[in-house]
Symmetry: C2
Subunit: 173 residues, 2 copies
């Protein structure tokens, strides 16, 4: 089986990074539970939204992301049984490309360069399963799709869902 | 139609860059006509081969590549009629990722980030046509394949071939 796994919000915790940076720089107390159904920038006052939107353009943003719990263990096991690719729509952020490669070297060294994809539109991926947090990616994929839960997608009901990597393990291992 | 176009040896002249760098640094006179059927490193004395193999790891190598003649004009026209993606197996060279993104910004600005793919194995691409210089990429693609002529592949007879971008225009426009 060929499996594609997204990075941000699936194995790399970009959402929590948005909250942490915002709280620190605006001396605020935004919490994850305030964010269900919304993008991070939609959870703050209008005059602060542009600041959050620019996080992804900062040098170091993607390099410093925390790993989503259990993703390493489950992906290591999955990659022994299946063709596991990481597929990230990273081309929007040129400064992120090297950071994402280095981040994968550090946290997912068992996924070699042959199985890493930095792309834009994901409808060009040919395989059996896509695990992603974005409807726009999942809806155009020819194969099984699993929406990985992130605060911004909690109201979406269109896809099979996994809330955690333990859920993924239950489904696939 | 969804078309994937490789970068090195198809729109970016990596082979000539190998020759130019080698001739300059070894005060040599290697010429393209000496290279048919061989990789660039196979055209020089054994004691020089490692130097050529390391070119692709140098900072700036991919940024400075010349554009393959007529590729801009033909791809601009193709991209008005088809979904044209650039697909480069760049993940092997992390330092190349940003350079390739910047190079595309400079020479192929009409191909937006949504249609750029930096990957490893290309058998995961789903589309109608792959234009590439490497048998290993072409042979695993589900769709029409065109081998773009490069010195290293002149002896291969397994694929439909284009020697120039004018050939591509004749076939597709």
């Amino acid at each position: 089986m060929t499996i594609f796994v997204d990075m941000d919000e699936v194995i790399a915790d970009a959402y929590m990074a948005h909250i942490d940076i915002y709280n620190q720089e605006f001396n605020a107390n935004l919490q994850l539970k305030d964010c269900f159904g919304k993008e991070a920038w939609q959870c703050v006052p209008v005059e602060h939204q542009q600041s959050i939107k620019l996080h992804t353009h900062r040098v170091g943003f993607f390099k410093d992301l925390k790993v989503i719990p259990d993703s390493q263990e489950v992906l290591r096991e999955l990659s022994q049984k299946h063709e596991v690719f990481i597929a990230s729509a990273a081309m929007e952020f040129p400064q992120s490309l090297r950071e994402k490669s280095d981040w994968l070297d550090e946290f997912f060294p068992f996924i070699p360069w042959q199985k890493r994809i930095l792309c834009g539109d994901k409808f060009i991926l040919k395989g059996d399963l896509l695990i992603d947090d974005r409807s726009k990616n999942l809806k155009n994929f020819d194969g099984r799709t699993i929406m990985f839960t992130s605060p911004h997608n909690t109201n979406t009901t269109d896809f099979e869902r996994a809330d955690t990597w333990k859920d993924i393990a239950d489904k696939l291992l």
